[in-house]
């Protein structure tokens, strides 16, 4: 009988504990327009890192938009409000994903900004060379100058490796080009991707370990709750370091991980950055979701270059500022590319 009692006692304990979900978890937030707005606004208020550097008064966003939301607010109306907020932050790493559409702020290009593609390519580079993976590489019309386009740093980790092996093809390219006078790396239309992949490529050009950028992270809900600044370095990696002259071509469309790459290359003494200021968005974004199923992302970090200048909303300045105008483009002239070729030709 006592065994039965004991077993009964255990069953009571088991089912009591099993049924204690509400003890450990409060219920999900209600899926109402007001609540979705409150969560969205509060998440940014607590976690978004760049209000001060982007000069945004987040409280005024609440004051402006909260009165516009009521229980009768439709999904479309709420989407329009959220879209306005997302676009007003001016951060390429802030996005909204909904069944009604996706919203992301895009860096506006200056008037008459040309196509980002290499203009009149056959004027500057030789055709028919090999292409590999995420890189396109050829020699210039002067065969002693190599030309590499890196279209993206959007990689995928494989197994325990965090580097996309396609980016390590750079080792093969550089080993073939050991005797080149110099190399031009074109990231003018590289919108970013994974920081590790950008770092892996930059490491192949590093002469020694060098700090290339800094970042700090949001570590609390208060507006000033940030970690200390932490440094990021590049250092020599791979079988061969290319230490001859290198030119990196940039534009306003060079963003995120590609900006990290530009900042990393800029600290190297044999590298010259040529072109326009980069897009100005370093912040590493995280994804979050609302009770209505909409997803958004926001930046929880602030990035700075090797000199400690915050690049969020500003970008990385080139060593040699050159722009290719729409008129140049129409005439088949890529001034940024030409400047890059000149720098390598005139190097010692």
């Amino acid at each position: 009988m006592n065994t039965i009692k004991r077993t009964f006692c255990i069953l009571i304990v088991v089912f009591t504990v099993y049924g204690c979900e509400n003890t450990f978890f409060e219920p999900d937030s209600a899926n109402t327009p007001e609540n979705n707005f409150e969560i969205f606004w509060k998440d940014f208020d607590r976690y978004y890192a760049q209000f001060s550097v982007r000069h945004i008064d987040w409280d005024s966003v609440y004051t402006l938009y909260r009165p516009q939301i009521s229980p009768s607010t439709s999904d479309r109306q709420l989407f329009n409000i959220f879209s306005n907020i997302v676009l007003s932050i001016n951060d390429m790493h802030v996005s909204l994903y909904t069944p009604l559409g996706n919203v992301s702020w895009k860096q506006p290009y200056p008037p008459l900004y040309p196509s980002m593609r290499l203009i009149n390519a056959f004027k500057y580079i030789q055709g028919g060379a090999a292409q590999k993976s995420v890189f396109e590489y050829r020699t210039c019309q002067d065969p002693s100058i190599g030309y590499i386009i890196i279209q993206t740093f959007s990689g995928q980790s494989e197994g325990l490796s965090v580097i996309d092996s396609r980016y390590l093809v750079i080792d093969d390219i550089l080993s073939q080009w050991k005797n080149m006078k110099g190399i031009i790396i074109d990231v003018r239309w590289n919108g970013g991707g994974e920081m590790f992949d950008a770092q892996a490529v930059a490491n192949r050009f590093a002469d020694q370990s060098r700090v290339c950028s800094y970042y700090c992270q949001k570590i609390g809900p208060g507006k000033d709750d940030f970690s200390s600044w932490k440094s990021i370095s590049i250092e020599p990696k791979g079988p061969y370091q290319f230490l001859k002259p290198v030119v990196v071509l940039t534009s306003r469309a060079t963003m995120s991980a590609a900006e990290f790459f530009v900042g990393a290359m800029q600290v190297l003494p044999h590298v010259t950055i040529v072109g326009d200021t980069t897009g100005g968005g370093f912040g590493d974004p995280v994804l979050r979701e609302l009770p209505n199923g909409w997803t958004y992302r926001l930046s929880t970090t602030i990035g700075a270059d090797a000199q400690g200048r915050i690049i969020e909303g500003v970008g990385i300045f080139p060593d040699v500022a050159v722009t290719t105008t729409a008129i140049d483009s129409a005439n088949g002239i890529d001034r940024i590319m030409e400047k890059g070729i000149d720098i390598i030709k005139n190097s010692q």
Binding site: N2, T3, K5, R6, T7, C9, I10, V13, V14, T16, V17, Y18, C20, E21, T23, F24, F25, D28, S29, N31, I39, R46, Y47, Y97, L160, S161, V162, I163, M195, F196, Q199, A200, N203, Y215, Q217, K218, I219, G220, P221, D225, S227, S228, K230, I232, K237, D284, V286, L287, R288, E289, P291, N292, G293, T295, T300, T301
Partner: protein, 287 residues
């Protein structure tokens, strides 16, 4: 008094009540032996990882557990390996043709434990033996949060904790090896790893940017953990087992496990809470 504290007190009191309730049987007398148990059953997993979502995600799965126990005259040794891989859904999970296509989590749950306890007290009148010892436990919960197609984010906790282990064994039947086993564990200090990009985003001591991706990444990540205690990590676990033998060497283990933890790195930002309930039936071999 917080709800969690009430549950802790409830479990400890239950532990005492069950352990010391009257029984007509005697303390088991036996030769030292080894027990090997392979178990499966149902695991219910509930998580709220505030780094990713304020919503609850839950799911059930058939886990796999391997348990080794050594029952000596004075001491107890227990080793556990536990695995489950569960799809967790929320109130906004979109399901098409019975398959989740957005807002779901693929959760890998691994658990390794070793506990050692030594006989602390024998209550012959109450037919119960109490053991007191320590437990080393490592828990990994790795979550791949799939928001939309091709839009996912990883999150995880890997916690290795050293804590107190309270164990009681009570014979169910006179002169048999069938017994009831109740165990409560509360880690006192834990080494916690927070891989990117979830909680790690706010960790002072860990950042993915700090590691060298071209070297052994596992070792580098392992070095980036934090030692935490009750200030950041609240964890508790309780096990209820009924082990009965159908022959001299073969038996069954009916097992219920309750496991809960709540972790936050900074100022209650991005708190991750996990509740896991397991109902397991195992085949036990005694050697």
């Amino acid at each position: 008094m917080s709800n969690k504290l009430i549950i802790v007190i409830f479990l400890i009191l239950s532990y005492g009540c069950i352990s010391f309730s009257q029984d007509s049987s005697n303390i088991i007398s036996f030769e030292p032996h080894h027990l090997f148990t392979l178990s499966s059953g149902i695991s219910s997993h509930i998580v709220r990882d505030e780094m990713m979502s304020l919503l609850l995600y839950r799911g059930t799965q058939a886990p796999l557990a391997f348990l080794y126990r050594f029952r000596g005259i004075e001491n107890r040794h227990t080793v556990l390996f536990y695995y489950d891989y569960t799809e967790l859904n929320s109130s906004i999970t979109k399901i098409v043709n019975e398959k989740a296509v957005s807002h779901y989590i693929n959760n890998l749950h691994l658990n390794f434990e070793y506990s050692f306890s030594t006989r602390a007290a024998v209550f012959e009148d109450l037919h119960t033996t109490c053991f007191l010892g320590a437990r080393l436990s490592s828990i990994l919960n790795l979550r791949d949060h799939c928001f939309e197609q091709n839009n996912s984010q990883m999150s995880a906790e890997l916690m290795t904790g050293l804590g107190i282990c309270l164990l009681t064994e009570t014979a169910i039947q006179k002169e048999s090896n069938n017994y009831l086993r109740v165990e409560v564990n509360i880690p006192c200090i834990s080494y916690v790893l927070l891989p990117e990009p979830y909680n790690a985003k706010v960790s002072e001591n860990f950042s993915l940017f700090d590691i060298d991706p071209e070297r052994n990444i596992l070792w580098q990540i392992f070095k980036k953990g934090d030692f935490v205690s009750f200030n950041k990590l609240f964890e508790m676990q309780a096990d209820f087992s009924y082990i009965f033998f159908v022959s001299r060497y073969i038996g069954f283990d009916l097992h219920y496990r309750f496991q809960y933890y709540s972790f936050t790195q900074y100022q209650d930002l991005f708190r991750a809470r996990v509740l896991n309930n397991q109902f397991l039936l195992g085949l036990t071999v005694k050697l």
